[in-house]
Amino acid sequence: MNAVVIGCGRVGSAVAKGLQAAGWDVSVVDENEDALTRLGPSWSGGFVVGHGMDVNVLERARVADADAAVVATNGDNTNLVIGQVLEKRYEIPCVVVRVLDPARADFYARRGLRTVCPTETAIAALLDTVSETVGVSGPVAP
């Protein structure tokens, strides 16, 4: 199975390594050549330097053969556009897009895009942790 990861930051690089460890054939795209170091010395997958909006770059990363794609550059709108291009133009069956803004993540999720919003996850985890620590009844009045 082939996967493409667009954006090789903290999230993208870890996802790429995770997929490779799970047996996927992974190609990574990042604008910055130095991002390759995040994948570690044992990286044996593909790495293409370029912008994910550039179809030549996408095609060099073999998006046409991809079974899955994860889009996690540092720009929400960039991710949303690339994600839709990968779905509509290259018909990749599983495209997952990281979107930090909960409102935009929700808007595009309702239109059928698979979005993951770390901000939502963080908010829920923070609230849960507080309520678990203080108790479900909330703060006790002095």
């Binding site: 709108n77 949303l80 556009v81 839709q84 291009v85 808007f107």
Partner: protein, 223 residues
């Protein structure tokens, strides 16, 4: 009418100024504090500070009214695409015009259904084509949805089509000649129309067939 303009660069600022002069109601959204301050001096409460790709910012700008027209003219193509999609699909804005900064991104706008686009580079290249007649085939109008171009072709003395009846030309599939302009008059082409040097021919052609049409009428391009 009511217009929301996203992006207070040169395009957004000049569009806002002109729309206001025409008597329209406008809200201009600009994110950068330095630009916002300058714009506020000129436009006062017409300008709003914020990221126009944030839904709450668009809502404060009245996207839910909705505006009659949305201009997505920031310097970022991704932003312009997302702003147009949110406006059209979530708030039913009837018309969104998006600026394409990098012409290579035009295909993404087409793919994602943002059909009204403007690109300075493409416009300038269109003028270059128009001013360089040896190019042969000048695109007058692109019908985005149909994938067709209306083109203008000047028949030259050495063109293989000169002296030939339209019915006798072997034109590529996906092309039709519409009319011939000669001696100040336009005639719709018939199979019996004979093309002559100096004729200006209007044709409708699918994007793929344009090079073959040029070749059929004008021969191989000069290098």
């Amino acid at each position: 009418m009511y217009v929301v303009v996203a992006g207070g660069g040169k395009v957004g600022t000049n569009s806002t100024r002109t729309l206001l002069e025409m008597g329209h109601e406008v809200t201009l959204i600009e994110q950068r504090p330095d630009r916002f301050a300058l714009l506020e001096e000129e436009f006062g409460p017409v300008v709003m500070r914020g990221d126009a790709t944030e839904i709450y910012v668009l809502e404060r700008a009245g996207i839910a009214r909705p505006p009659d027209l949305l201009l997505a003219v920031t310097g970022d193509d991704e932003d312009n695409l997302v702003i147009s999609q949110i406006g059209k699909e979530s708030y039913g804005v009837p018309k969104a015009i998006a600026r394409v900064n990098d012409p290579r991104n035009q295909q993404h706008f087409d793919l994602l259904g943002i059909s009204l686009t403007v690109s300075a580079t493409t416009s300038i290249l269109g003028l270059v084509e128009h001013e360089m007649p040896e190019h042969g085939l000048v695109r007058l109008l692109r019908l985005q949805r149909e994938g067709l171009d209306i083109v203008d072709i000047q028949i030259e003395g050495h063109s293989p089509a000169a002296g030939t009846r339209v019915g006798g030309l072997s034109l590529p599939a996906g092309s039709r000649l519409i009319s011939v302009f000669r001696h100040g008059r336009t005639e719709l082409t018939e199979p019996s129309t004979v093309l002559r040097p100096g004729d200006q021919v209007l044709a409708v052609v699918s994007e793929d067939a344009a090079p073959a049409l040029r070749k059929a009428l004008l021969g191989a391009p000069k290098s």
